[in-house]
């Protein structure tokens, strides 16, 4: 198939007078890792949330696997089971164990039996290195462990595309590595990933493309080497310099 997995066409979104996304267009093929960077408030989260329709676009179209996902007649729950999302502040279900968090979707959405859901949850937890924490509750886990459960929870739905919204921004520095490691594994397994992050060395090593968003526009995009070595715009260069200093 030559269809891209994700196609975003001229997507715009405003909150009141503030135009947050201005005619954003991009595509991702299967296995692509696209990293979105940009200053706070530039619309990165909004862009991600439009893809799984936690936020509705004002205009423009989004296609997943050739199917239009914007539009009133689309089953958003069906869309969301194909698109996993990982949140900055984890949002684990506070009343459920790690296993319970991962099982809930397969049970309630995919209709798996308890045993099947449990098996799938334990597989996913093992893949993120948390086999031994399956019975722990979120409040008993470290930030890094929570985020890995969050990733396992999304993966248990066997999504076609994963969205990561600053998955390491809420973590203590020493816990960032374990989450990035899990994400690297995922890249190696061929997952298509749209990632908002300021971990530049991670972006540099895994991204197929980096997009620099500012003021609701894609100011510049390209493979990591190009953006890091030969940015075309001053704004990109300034931003990258600042962010690299901040994180070193």
């Amino acid at each position: 198939m030559s269809d891209p997995l994700l196609r975003v066409e001229r997507v715009s979104k405003s909150y009141g007078d503030e135009q947050v996304l201005r005619e954003i267009s991009f595509e991702m093929d299967r296995g692509d890792v696209t990293v979105l960077i940009g200053p706070s408030g530039s619309g990165k989260s909004t862009m991600l949330r439009c893809v799984n329709r936690l936020t509705e676009v004002d205009s423009g179209e989004i296609y997943l696997d050739g199917e239009r996902v914007t539009g009133p007649d689309v089953d958003v729950n069906e869309l969301r089971r194909q698109v996993g999302m990982v949140f900055q502040d984890f949002n684990l279900f506070a009343h459920l164990t790690a296993r319970g968090n991962v099982m809930l979707g397969p049970r309630q959405v995919l209709g798996l039996s308890k045993e099947e859901a449990r098996r799938r949850a334990d597989e996913q937890l093992a893949l993120v290195g948390l086999a031994d924490q399956a019975d722990s509750y979120p409040a008993e886990l470290s930030g890094g462990q929570k985020q890995r459960v969050g990733i396992a929870r999304a993966l248990a739905m066997e999504p076609k595309l994963m969205l990561f919204d600053e998955p390491t921004s809420a973590l203590d520095p020493e816990l960032i590595g374990e989450v990035l490691e899990v994400m690297r594994d995922l890249v190696e397994r061929g997952m298509t990933m749209l990632v908002v992050t300021h971990e530049m060395s991670f972006a540099r090593s895994v991204a197929s493309e980096i997009m620099f968003l500012d003021g609701g526009r894609i100011v510049e995009r390209g493979p990591p080497e190009q953006l890091f070595e030969r940015p075309e715009h001053d704004r990109t260069a300034t931003f990258l310099r600042r962010i690299t200093q901040l994180h070193s």
């Binding site: 969301r80 089971r81 979707g105 979120p138």
Partner: protein, 245 residues
């Protein structure tokens, strides 16, 4: 001053306590009515108030408006008025129910009492649950929606279990308030614990203090045991490590 020779104070108290003791059966029967009214009203209040709270938080504009309006009216009307309304304006028929060969007769007054106290409690309980539902972080709902759960399933499996845990303290208060408010059913001719205490000390005015102490002790035992029981339920379902996610 001549007139009746009062016995020495200690003796008199002893005989007043004896009076309480002689009539304890009468007071315990009132206690049974108090308990029956409280349990039935709190349950009715829960099964109406909980969905009402859910509608207030997640309902559409019309259903929310309706529930909010009914709630404001119920909370703004004196309970005696509600009871009289239930009993005299919309008379509740006597009811005989049979379950598994056991039949019970419920008087119209009792049913009116339960309806009045229960619906008013529902109006207050809806606010307890509304607050608890709103206190659950929005991210919980978003995470549930993000894995493809519909709104109802997300409410049911993610928000409600956390909200219920946070409702316990408010619910404990509400049970205590309903327990003490059952006394207003005297307005529709029912005699529960406090009404019966009143009946007794009208007969024997020297025993006012003893009778009230006795009745208060019963209220205290009832309040204390329900609160303890709910504490235990709360501890049993407490989330290990706390509620942060």
């Amino acid at each position: 001053m001549t007139g009746v020779e009062l016995p020495p104070i200690a003796l008199q108290q002893a005989s007043d306590w004896a009076f309480v003791w002689e009539n304890s059966g009468y007071l315990f029967a009132g206690t049974a009515l108090t308990i029956a009214l409280t349990v039935a009203s709190v349950l009715l209040g829960f099964f109406v108030g909980f969905p009402a709270g859910v509608v207030e938080v997640y309902g559409g504009r019309a259903s929310r408006g309706l529930v909010e309006t009914v709630g404001v009216v119920l909370r703004g009307t004196p309970i005696v008025v509600i009871l009289i309304f239930m009993y005299f304006v919309f008379p509740t028929p006597d009811l005989t129910i049979g379950v598994l060969g056991v039949t019970a007769s419920l008087s119209g007054a009792f049913l009116a009492g339960v309806l009045g106290l229960g619906l008013r409690s529902a109006a207050y309980q809806s606010q307890i649950f509304r607050g608890a539902l709103q206190s659950v972080d929005e991210g919980q709902m978003e995470a549930a929606r993000s894995i493809g759960m519909d709104k109802l399933a997300s409410i049911r499996h993610v928000v409600v279990p956390q909200a219920l845990r946070r409702s316990v303290p408010g619910f404990q208060n509400e049970v205590t308030i309903v327990l003490k408010d059952t006394s207003v059913v005297f307005a529709i001719g029912l005699a529960e614990l406090l009404t019966r205490s009143y009946d007794l000390f009208v007969v024997r005015t020297t025993a006012v203090l003893e009778i009230l102490l006795f009745a208060s002790a019963i209220y205290f035992v009832l309040t204390f045991t329900t609160n303890r029981a709910l504490d235990l339920v709360s501890a049993r379902y407490a989330i290990p490590g706390g509620e942060s996610a």
